[in-house]
Amino acid sequence: MLSIREISKTFNKGTVNEKKALSHLSLELPDGDFATIVGSNGAGKSTMFNAIAGSFITDEGRIILDGKDITFEKEHIRSRCIGRLFQDPLMGTAPHMTIEENLAVAYLRASSAESSSPMHRFLQGFCRITKSEREMFREQLSHLGMGLEDRMTSPVGLLSGGQRQALTLLMATIVTPKLLLLDEHTAALDPATAQKVLDLTQKIVEQHHITCLMVTHNMHQALEMGNRTLMMSGGRIVLDVSGEKRAHMSVDDLLEEFSVNAGKELDNDRILLSQ
């Protein structure tokens, strides 16, 4: 369960470039909720993700994940229980390392679980990839349905964007995260591949019952995926629909709701084109 309480962030405070990116944003996301987020450029979607992931520390407010206050925790500590995918498929993987090695790095989260002692963790650092881990990686890769299980010793740099994004998805979820952040993770893929990665996302999120936030610029996706839709504007959440209301909502309704709530038209080419 993710609980964001009144967080604010202003960049370049006190200069002409001052930008209030998040303003008293609050959000309660119960376990297993899968919320899609829409909003025009500069609405604060990515800033909110960065705040949750710990790229910077917020000016005000608190972020609580699974009962633990992570407001001031460092990024790499938070990433033990937060999985994240970026728009750029090249960002989530190491191109010169093999598929197997990439998965092994992602699987480090399992050993950095808080239960193990620092000494134990230190000694585990000197373990190589075991046979059972390799088998587990192979099995998990086969679920992606891309034939990657037979290319485990190929460098990731040789894979296509879609394959890399699917691999990144597997890496982010190979140790079930408490929260999964998807930042337009299919926007750079061709429509057919994007659909395939979306299907995989849905399958994995449902299978492991992962709490998930997904930014998208596709209004259909925003209403079809998950069980809840949020709309952001000016660093706040201006619309939050779920259940019956969302089930009967059309893209036009969503756009109209937005203009009512934000007091302006949704001004993003990509959103208009994707209607």
Partner: protein, 321 residues
């Protein structure tokens, strides 16, 4: 073998093997971690000074261990400047390199050179192990082969462990590392400590090999090591990890052979730094030059075949007419 005498080959192999440790150090910092660590010169001299001082005190083996520890400390300082204080990596190396000059002088008791003639070194100890004919001549090479072989094996093993994989990922994709619970600062620190301990080890070995230490011994070492590294990577490719590591060692030995040839061709020793610089430039430029040549060849062949097609050799063309 008129050009090369056995002695020249032997010396090139021995010194090449010692230098290969520095090339391996740069392999870790430059190729794997993607950090330009310019503290190599000072760190090598530091290993040399520590190794010589310990040898004079009568502990040649401990001298190598201490030189490695000293190298690791130097790496720790370079890494801390980068990760904790945000100093750009090239600058951090230069700063440490400058500071090390004084440290090195201090280690050598504020004299600019030390002689360890008449003292037991690891090489004299190995040579004294057996009276067999030829052992005295080849024991140093055998010892160096064992040491460098062990260093290669350990490095290969280390880079396959979880820690090693995390270090590799840190140099390969920083967004990925931040998203996967690895502390990049810690990985850079560990990587540079291991890398500089190899440089320190090379320093201690060369001190005992030459039976002396000199404050200016390390000058230009980073270029030589870079040349070895790049020769290795250019000639032996960037395949799997064991091949890459072996390629680096082969590159360092090959570099010594090129220098041996230069020596045989009576190139004056004063010009050696220029020769090293040329070798580095050529080695780095080689892939681009190869690509350019290939493109020119393809263009020429392509022009010829298309010209032939235009002249009417192509049946499809005739039909069209």
């Amino acid at each position: 073998m008129g050009f090369f005498t056995a002695g020249i080959v032997q010396t090139a192999l021995e010194v090449g093997l010692i230098y290969s440790l520095i090339a391996l150090s740069l392999f870790l910092s430059f190729s794997i971690l993607n950090i330009c660590d310019l503290s190599t010169d000072g760190c090598y001299t530091l290993g040399c000074a520590v190794g010589a001082t310990m040898t004079i005190a009568g502990h040649p083996v401990l001298g190598i261990v201490c030189a490695m520890a000293a190298g690791a400390c130097s790496g720790f300082v370079t890494a801390s400047l980068q990760t904790v204080f945000g100093v750009p990596s090239i600058l951090a190396g230069i700063i440490v390199n400058t500071g090390l000059y004084t440290v090195n002088l201090a280690v050598m008791g504020f004299s600019s050179n030390l002689s360890i003639f008449g003292k037991d070194t690891v090489f004299s100890m190995i040579a004294g192990l057996s009276d067999a004919a030829g052992w005295g001549d080849w024991s140093a090479l055998v010892l160096l082969l064992v040491l460098v072989g062990a260093a290669c094996l350990l490095l290969w093993w280390f880079l396959g462990t979880r820690l090693g994989l995390s270090i590799r990922a840190t140099g390969d994709s920083s967004p990925m590392v931040r998203a996967s619970s690895i502390n990049p600062g810690l990985m850079i620190t560990i990587g540079l400590c291991v890398s500089n301990s190899l440089t320190g080890m090379a320093g201690a070995l060369i001190a005992q090999y030459n039976k002396m230490a000199d404050i200016n011994l390390g000058t230009g070492m980073v270029t030589i090591a870079l040349a070895s590294l790049i020769i290795g990577e250019t000639l032996f490719g960037r395949g799997k990890m064991p091949a890459r590591i072996a390629g680096v060692v082969a590159g360092a030995v090959l570099y010594r052979f090129i220098m041996a040839i230069a020596l045989r061709l009576n190139v004056p020793t004063e010009a050696f730094k220029l020769v090293s610089a040329l070798i580095v430039a050529v080695a780095i430029a080689a892939p681009a030059a190869k690509e350019m040549l290939r493109f020119q060849m393809e263009k020429r062949i392509g022009r010829r075949t298309r010209a032939r097609a235009d002249a009417g050799d192509n049946p499809a063309d005739k039909e069209a007419r």
